[in-house]
Amino acid sequence: MKTMTELAVAIDVRNVSQTYHDGRSALKALDGVSLSVAEGEFVCLLGASGCGKTTLLNLIVGLYHLKSGTIDVGGRRVALMFQEPALFPWLTVERNIDLAMRFRGIAKDHRAERIAELLTLVHLEGFGDRRPHELSGGMRQRVALARALAQEADVLLMDEPFGALDAMTRDVLHDEFERIWRTTGLTVLFVTHNVREAVRLGDRVLLLSSRPGRVVAEFPVDIERPRRIDDASVSVLAGEITDRLREEVRRHGH
């Protein structure tokens, strides 16, 4: 049972709307989105394309300018993991992780120690002096994860981080990331369009409608961890959510 303090809200999004203007036409990407994520909670944000998932993450992390609504992270440090690893190709794995700490002004001797810890955490000991292009997609994404963790953020936003990986690697990384989430106590907001992935990982799954994006349904996931993507209970809930998602997509066919 969690106590009240542990249930403090880490991300509070209220009534956020965002419209893109492209010459004469205007596209409403988000329309009055409200959601909150509790501290230490793992929330998956699920939606078909065009639901403004990426826009929302960029707004929360502060890469985009918020025009309407409020976003409150209570002064927590927020890190964002992109769909692609976005590692700097001119730096080794170690130096990539190092840079995240350097920008935060951490002393050099502390950094070396922390890099070793993080590489162990993502199971990449011995790969510190490699360059990104020498690694596989899954390994690069783990380096990106280590780099995000090096920011010592309280909140980790993830934008389809496993979307470009093969199924086998993705399954293993689900296990890996779940383990890291449990040991670090991070608050995670995880964007995906893969229903099973959302159910496999999340404490809660939020369904976003498309064009404009809006939270239309919420599904608590009461399945014991550690889970497997092919668990029967995962499949059942995933099926239920898929039906709701398809209904949402059909709305655009008329």
């Binding site: 964002l80 700097f88 190709p89 920008f103 790969f127 020498e134 390994m139 293993v172 296990d175 890996e176």
Partner: protein
């Protein structure tokens, strides 16, 4: 439950290690330095022989009299003789010193200009097309002005060398910055890179390939401007490669003239190969832009 977790954990570790081993790029030991040097060298040697052969055939055809166009059989021994004289090395030293000073200044000015133009949209709109215009201006057109400003002096030569090279260097940096993938800039921003930190750790390293291309072109331009300068701005009693060329023409010594031209070409090739191309290859290899293990 705890034991079960441990088992799962070990399994996970093994699975990850297995996937990594299967996926990771294997870096095989490449061929040794000697064999790499040989494979780079022999096509060049062959090409050189080809050029000499064509040259010799033209001479044999008696298209021009031998005193105006001597063949490689007399030019190459002359080059060998020149290489043994002190005066020749004095001339080369003067020219190379001018080249290094001029190029160094051009790098400093071009880099600052490039950073300014790439970081400020106003400067970019103002000077962007300006730089390209300057770059396409033949350096020889600056000489009359340079001679009026600096007389027949080192300053006049330096002025033109810098004007010849700096725009290319600035332009290279600007285009390097323009071609940075936006994702890398967003990643830098997300990691908290601001101002000078962002410039030093994200923008400049990301723009390095374009910058080096600019340096390479800048070097070519400064070398050209320098030789043009040495031909036009003859500073009395100071020997240089350009002065030697002038002298050879005045004495109708076509053999020495051609030998000196080979020197000008040789220095250009050497600097490009040993410095710029080597740096370029190194950058591309480090960033994984060279296909390794692919059939050639």
């Amino acid at each position: 439950m705890a034991i079960e977790n441990d088992v799962l954990e070990t399994q996970l570790e093994e699975e990850l290690a297995g996937l990594d081993a299967l996926d990771a790029l294997r870096t095989e030991a490449g061929p040794g330095l000697a064999s790499r040097a040989w494979s780079a060298l022999w096509p060049k040697v062959l090409a050189l022989f080809g050029v000499f052969a064509v040259w010799q055939i033209v001479v044999w055809s008696h298209w021009k009299p031998e005193y105006a166009l001597p063949g490689p059989t007399s030019v190459l021994p002359e080059l060998g003789r020149q290489l043994k004289t002190v005066a020749f090395w004095h001339a080369v030293a003067t020219t190379m010193r001018r080249a290094l000073v001029g190029f160094g200044l051009a790098v400093a000015i071009g880099t600052l200009l490039g950073i300014g133009v790439s970081r400020s949209s106003i400067l970019k709109r103002g000077f962007g097309s300006f730089l390209t215009g300057l770059q396409s201006m033949p350096s020889i057109t600056w000489f009359p002005l340079a001679i009026l400003l600096f007389k027949l002096s080192e300053g006049a030569i330096l002025f033109v060398v810098v004007l010849g090279a700096a725009p290319s260097i600035a332009n290279g940096l600007v285009s390097g910055v323009d071609h940075i993938p936006p994702l890398l800039l967003r990643a830098g921003k997300m990691l908290g890179a601001r101002g000078v930190d962002s410039l030093r750790h994200v923008v400049l390293p990301a723009a390095l390939p374009g910058y080096v291309a600019g340096l390479k072109q800048g070097w070519a331009f400064s070398w050209r401007s320098l030789l043009a300068g040495e031909l036009l701005v003859d500073i009395a009693a100071r020997s240089s490669i350009g002065a030697a060329l002038n002298q050879a023409r005045e004495l109708n010594d076509a053999t020495k003239l051609l030998a000196m031209m080979i020197v000008v070409f040789g220095i250009g090739v050497l600097i490009d190969g040993l410095v710029f191309s080597a740096v370029e290859t190194r950058i591309r290899r480090r960033r994984g832009l060279i296909e390794t293990g692919a059939a050639a």
